[in-house]
C-alpha cells in the first residue's frame, strides 16, 4: 500500500512538472534571459550593428544621472505622477461614491465613464491634439471667448506636462471608478444601518468614519496601479509632442536611446533603472498578492 501511494504522488508530480513546462520555458525565454541580457548590456557600450563592444562597468549608470535629457524625463514623469495619482484616486472615488448611490442611472454612468478606458490612446491623443490646438481647438476658442487669451497647451513647456496629465486622468478615471465601485459594494448594508442607529448619518461623517477606512485596501490597490500606469506614460507623448518642448518622459527617453539612436548598452542601463522604480511600487502590491495567494 505504502509504495503505491508514493508511486501515485511521484507520478502526479511528474505530470505537474510536464504541464508547467511550456510556462516555465516561456518564462525563461521571455523574462529571465532578457533580464540577464539587459544586465549584461547595461555594462557595455554596445550599439546595434556594431562589431565591437567594450566593457564599461557602471559607467552607463553614472552617465544616466548626469544626462540632462534623462533627468528631465524623470522630473517630468514625477510631475506627471504628482498630478495623475491624487487626481486619479480622489476624482474616481468621488465619481464612484456618487454613482454607487444611483440605482437606475448607474449603468448609464458606468458606460460613459468607462468609454475612454476602452478607446485606443493614440487615436484619442490625436483628438486631444485637435482640442488643445491653439488656433483650431475649441478649448482655446472658449478661453478666448471668456477673455482668458489662448494657451499653447502642447508647445509651452510649462503647460505640456499638466496637459498630458489631464489627458491621462481622462482615460484613467473610469477604470479606477469601477474598482472603487466594486470596493463599495463589498461594504455590507448592515454596517451602514448600525451606523444610522448610532447616529452616524449618510454624508461626510459616514464617509470619514466608515466608508473611507473600509476602502483602505481598495485605495491601496488604486494608488499602486495608478502609480505604475502613470509611470509608463508613453502614447500621449509620442502622439502629441514627440518629446519636444522638454516633454520627455522616462519611457520616451528609453525608447529614443534604444530604438532611435540604437545605443543598446545605455538604453539597457536606463531600462534597469526604470525597472527598479516599477518594482518598488509593485512590491507593495506583490506583497499583498502573495499573502492572498497563500491563504486563498
Amino acid at each position: 500500500m505504502k509504495s503505491n501511494r508514493n508511486d501515485a504522488e511521484f507520478r502526479l508530480a511528474w505530470v505537474g512538472m510536464g504541464l508547467a513546462t511550456p510556462a516555465s520555458f516561456l518564462l525563461t525565454v521571455l523574462y529571465v534571459l532578457p533580464l540577464l541580457c539587459l544586465l549584461l548590456l547595461s555594462l557595455t557600450d554596445y550599439e546595434l550593428g556594431a562589431t565591437t563592444l567594450s566593457w564599461l562597468g557602471t559607467e552607463n549608470f553614472q552617465r544616466a544621472w548626469s544626462d540632462p535629457v534623462f533627468i528631465r524625463s524623470l522630473k517630468n514623469t514625477l510631475v506627471y505622477m504628482a498630478i495623475v495619482i491624487p487626481g486619479g484616486v480622489l476624482l474616481s472615488l468621488l465619481v464612484a461614491l456618487l454613482v454607487h448611490q444611483r440605482a437606475r442611472s448607474r449603468s448609464f454612468y458606468e458606460v460613459i465613464y468607462f468609454l475612454p478606458v476602452t478607446s485606443t490612446m493614440i487615436a484619442m491623443a490625436t483628438v486631444w491634439q485637435f482640442l488643445l490646438h491653439p488656433k483650431l481647438g475649441f478649448i482655446n476658442a472658449a478661453l478666448k471667448a471668456a477673455g482668458l487669451g489662448q494657451t499653447a497647451f502642447i508647445t509651452d513647456p510649462t503647460w505640456v506636462i499638466p496637459s498630458l496629465a489631464l489627458i491621462g486622468l481622462w482615460q484613467m478615471i473610469g477604470f479606477n471608478m469601477i474598482i472603487y465601485l466594486a470596493g463599495l459594494s463589498q461594504i455590507p448594508q448592515e454596517i451602514y444601518e448600525a451606523a444610522e442607529v448610532d447616529g452616524v448619518h449618510a454624508g461626510w461623517e459616514r464617509f470619514i468614519r466608515i466608508t473611507w477606512p473600509m476602502l483602505t485596501p481598495t485605495t491601496l490597490f488604486v494608488v499602486v496601479t495608478t502609480c505604475i500606469s502613470a509611470f509608463k506614460v508613453f502614447d500621449t507623448v509620442l502622439a502629441l509632442t514627440q518629446g519636444k518642448s522638454q516633454s520627455e518622459v522616462v519611457l520616451y527617453a528609453i525608447y529614443l536611446e534604444g530604438f532611435q539612436y540604437f545605443k543598446m548598452g545605455y538604453a539597457a542601463a536606463l531600462t534597469l533603472i526604470f525597472l527598479a522604480l516599477i518594482f518598488a511600487a509593485s512590491s507593495i502590491q506583490l506583497f499583498k498578492m502573495d499573502k492572498k495567494a497563500h491563504y486563498a
Binding site: 505537474g16 518564462l27 490625436t126 483628438v127 482640442l131 476658442a141 473610469g174 525597472l275 509593485s282 495567494a293
Partner: protein, 274 residues
C-alpha cells in the same frame, strides 16, 4: 418620486463629468463630418453647420488600409489569446492541484514577472528577434505576450477552489490528468476565462509600444500603429481626415464594449481583485 437637493447636485456633478468624458468622442465624430473650412473656424460648438458628408472617411479609407489594420489586430489578439490560454491552463492546474518540487518557486517567479512590463523586456527581445530575422511578422508581435502571468494567477486561484474529491473520484475512475483538466476543471472556470479573454483582447488591441518596435511595414500594422502611421503621413493640418481616422480606429473597441459591457467590466475588475 421626490427629488432631493442632494440628488440634483449628484446628478449635476456626474453629468458634468460625463460631459468631459464624452467631449473628445463628440468632437472627434463631428469634426470628421465637418467641412475643412468650418474646422478652421475654431468654434466652441462641435456640430457642423452644413452637411459635409463622409468625404473625410473616404479620404482616410483611400490613403490608409483601415480594414487591414483591423484584420491585423484581430489576428494578433486572437493568436495571443489562444496561446496564453493554452499555456496558462496546464500551468495553473499544475500549480493548483499537482504540487511538485519547485512549484512554489515557479509561482513566486510568475508573481515577480507580473510586474515586469513589456517596455522593459522590449530591448533584448527586439535584439533577439532581429538576430533570428523574425522581425516585422505576426509572430514577433505576438511572441512576448504568449505567457500571461495574470492568466496563470487568475486560473490558479480558480482551480484551487475546485473540489479535490471530484478529481480523486475521476482518477479512481481511470481518467488521466489531461482529461480531468480539460473535461472537468476547465469548464468550471468559464466565466473567469471569458473575463480574462476580454481583458487580454482589450489590452493587446490597444497596445502601441511593442508593435511600433517590431513592425516596420504598413501591411502588418495593428490599429494603434496604423493610426500612428496615418497621422504621420498626414501633413498634420488635415484634421478632418485625422478625426475620421481616429473614429474608425476607435470604433471597434467602443462598439464591442457597448455590446459586452458586463464582460468588459468584469474582466477589468478581475485584474483588480487578484
Amino acid at each position: 418620486m421626490k427629488l432631493k437637493t442632494s440628488d440634483v447636485i449628484s446628478h449635476a456633478v456626474l453629468l458634468g463629468g460625463a460631459a468631459i468624458m464624452l467631449m473628445p468622442f463628440v468632437w472627434m465624430f463631428f469634426t470628421a463630418i465637418k467641412a475643412p473650412s468650418e474646422i478652421f473656424e475654431a468654434s466652441i460648438w462641435p456640430w457642423p453647420r452644413t452637411w459635409y458628408g463622409f468625404a473625410h472617411f473616404q479620404e482616410v479609407l483611400k490613403s490608409a488600409p483601415m480594414g487591414l489594420f483591423m484584420w491585423n489586430g484581430l489576428v494578433v489578439c486572437s493568436g495571443i489569446l489562444i496561446v496564453q490560454v493554452l499555456v496558462a491552463i496546464p500551468a495553473a492546474y499544475a500549480l493548483a492541484k499537482l504540487p511538485f518540487k519547485g512549484s512554489e518557486s515557479l509561482f513566486m517567479a510568475i508573481l515577480v514577472a507580473l510586474s515586469v512590463p513589456i517596455q522593459v523586456t522590449a530591448l533584448p527581445l527586439y535584439m533577439g528577434l532581429s538576430l533570428a530575422g523574425w522581425l516585422n511578422s505576426y509572430f514577433a508581435q505576438m511572441a512576448p505576450f504568449f505567457l500571461s502571468m495574470f492568466a496563470i494567477f487568475l486560473l490558479r486561484q480558480h482551480f484551487k477552489t475546485f473540489p479535490d474529491e471530484i478529481i480523486h473520484a475521476a482518477r479512481i475512475d481511470g481518467m488521466t490528468e489531461w482529461e480531468i483538466m480539460w473535461r472537468l476543471v476547465v469548464p468550471s472556470a468559464r466565466p473567469a476565462l471569458a473575463a480574462f479573454a476580454v481583458f487580454s483582447v482589450v489590452a493587446h488591441w490597444n497596445d502601441l509600444y511593442w508593435p511600433m518596435v517590431v513592425i516596420t511595414t504598413t501591411e502588418l500594422a495593428p490599429p494603434p500603429l496604423g493610426m500612428l502611421l496615418f497621422a504621420n503621413a498626414e501633413s498634420g493640418a488635415n484634421y478632418g481626415a485625422l478625426m475620421a481616422g481616429a473614429t474608425l480606429i476607435t470604433m471597434p473597441m467602443v462598439i464591442a464594449f457597448l455590446f459586452a459591457r458586463k464582460q468588459f467590466i468584469q474582466g477589468i475588475t478581475m485584474s483588480g481583485f487578484r
